[in-house]
Symmetry: C2
Subunit: 224 residues, 2 copies
DNA sequence: GGTATAAAACCGACCAGGCGGTTTGTAAAG
DNA sequence: CTTTACAAACCGCCTGGTCGGTTTTATACC
C-alpha cells in the first residue's frame, strides 16, 4: 500500500477509536494511550499522525462538522422546494439527525471543550453564518431563531442525558418544529411578504390551513 | 470557632475554589490539588471534607441545583399571578438567570459530566418533575415543551460558547419566550380549555386576540 | 475553674498509576 | 539511500488518593 493511503488508514483508525472511546467511556477517558490501544496502532503511530492531543480533538471536531455539514446541504436542497425557510428547516433537521447519531459527534464536542474551551470557536464560526442565513430568509427572524434554539435545546439536553422525553415525544417535537404551518409569524417583519420570496409557488403547494397534519417524510425514522 | 462552622467554612472554601477554577481554567483543570491551592486549604483538608473527587463534583452540582431551585420557586410565586403557565415561566426565567450568572453553575455540570456521566442523573430527576408540571398546566403541552427547549437551547449554546447572538438579542428572545400572548396554542389539546384552569381570570387580563401588536419595545431591529 | 482525654479538623509528605509527549529503532515505500 | 510510517521503550509530571502526625475543639472528671 502506498504511503498516503497508509497514513489515511491510520488516521481514520485513530479517529474511529477516539469516537468509540468517547461514546463508550465518556470524554474523560479519551487519552492517547486509550486511542492507541483501541485502534490497534502503537502510541508512536498515533503521535505520528497527530502531533498533539489537541490535534486529535481538532480533527475529531472537523470530521463531525463536515459530516453534519454534508447532511445539512443535502437536506437544504430538498427543503428549498418544500419550505420557504429552507435554511431553518435544514438546521432543525440536522440537529434532529445529530440526536439519533447520538454521542458520536457531539460528544466529541464535549471532550474538546473539556480539554480546551477555545476549540469551540471552530463550530461557532459555522454557526454565525447559519444564523445569519436563517435570519435573512425569515419574515419573523426571532421566531426562526427560537425554533432553531428549541431544536438545539433538545439536542444538547439529550446529549447531556438530561432530556426526560421519550423518543416518540422528541420526534413529535421535531416534527412540529419543522412544520412551518404551525408557526405563524407575528406581523413584526411582514404580514404580507415584502420581498417576493423565490418559493411562494412552492409554498402554495401546501395550502392547508395551518393545523393539518404535516406530510413531511422527515428523513429516516428508526423505530415506529 | 466551633467545629460545625469550621467544617462548613472549609467546605464552602473548597467549593468556591472549585467554581473559580472551573470557570477560569475550564473543567479539565479542576483537580484536587488545584482546589487545595486555590482555597488555601491543604490537600488533606480538602480530602477530609470530600473523601473523593466525585464527592466534590456531586456537592458542586447540588449547590448549584439548590441555588437555581430557590430562584425558580421565588419566581414561581410571582408568576402564578401573571401567567397561566407559571411553571413554564419560572423555568424559562431560571434558564435566563443561569445564562447571566454564566459559567458559575452550569459549567460545573460540564465538569461533572466529564468525570462521570452518571452524575447527570441528579439534575435529570429534577427535570422530569418540572417537565411533568409544565405539561400539566399547559393546554398545548408540546408548545410549552418547545418554549422550554428553546430557552434551554439558548442557555446551553451560550455555555458552550457557541451562541453568536448579542446580549440584547438574547434578552429579546427570552422576553418573547416568556410572553404567553405571543404563543398561541394549536387546537391540539384544547381550543376551549377542557379543564377549567385555576388562572382563567388571570389570563383574561390579556384579552387581545393573539396577534395584536405587542407593546414590548422589541429593542433593536436590524434590517427593514 | 483546671486538667486529662477523646474526637474532629487539618496538614503535608508520600505513593502508584496514568498522562501527554519524546526518543530510539526498524521496516517499508519512494 | 532517503524519507515516511510505524513500533516500543522511556521520561517527567500530574493525578486521585493514603497516611502518620499536629493542632484545634469538645467532653469528662475533679
Amino acid at each position: 500500500m502506498d504511503n498516503p493511503s497508509r497514513s489515511e488508514r491510520s488516521r481514520n483508525a485513530a479517529l474511529d477509536a477516539a469516537i468509540t472511546i468517547v461514546t463508550r467511556d465518556g470524554p474523560g477517558r479519551l487519552t492517547l494511550d486509550a486511542i492507541a490501544r483501541e485502534s490497534g496502532l502503537s502510541k508512536g503511530g498515533v503521535m505520528h499522525q497527530f502531533r498533539t492531543k489537541e490535534a486529535v480533538l481538532r480533527a475529531l471536531l472537523e470530521q463531525q462538522m463536515t459530516h453534519f455539514e454534508e447532511f445539512s446541504t443535502r437536506y437544504l436542497e430538498k427543503a428549498r422546494e418544500t419550505s420557504d425557510q429552507p435554511e431553518l428547516a435544514a438546521q432543525i433537521a440536522t440537529l434532529k439527525e445529530a440526536i439519533s447519531t447520538p454521542r458520536a459527534g457531539a460528544f466529541a464536542l464535549l471532550a474538546a471543550m473539556n480539554a480546551n474551551p477555545e476549540l469551540m470557536a471552530m463550530p461557532r464560526d459555522v454557526d454565525i453564518k447559519k444564523v445569519a442565513l436563517m435570519k435573512a430568509e425569515a419574515c419573523d427572524p426571532d421566531l426562526a431563531l427560537l425554533r432553531w434554539a428549541a431544536a438545539r435545546g433538545l439536542l444538547l439536553s439529550s446529549l447531556f442525558g438530561m432530556l426526560s422525553l421519550t423518543e416518540a415525544e422528541r420526534d413529535r417535537l421535531f416534527e412540529r418544529l419543522l412544520d412551518d404551518s404551525k408557526w405563524t409569524a407575528l406581523e413584526h417583519g411582514a404580514a404580507e411578504p415584502a420581498k417576493p420570496s423565490r418559493t411562494t409557488a412552492a409554498r402554495a403547494a401546501s395550502p392547508r390551513p395551518a393545523g393539518a397534519r404535516s406530510a413531511k417524510p422527515a428523513s429516516a425514522r428508526k423505530r415506529g
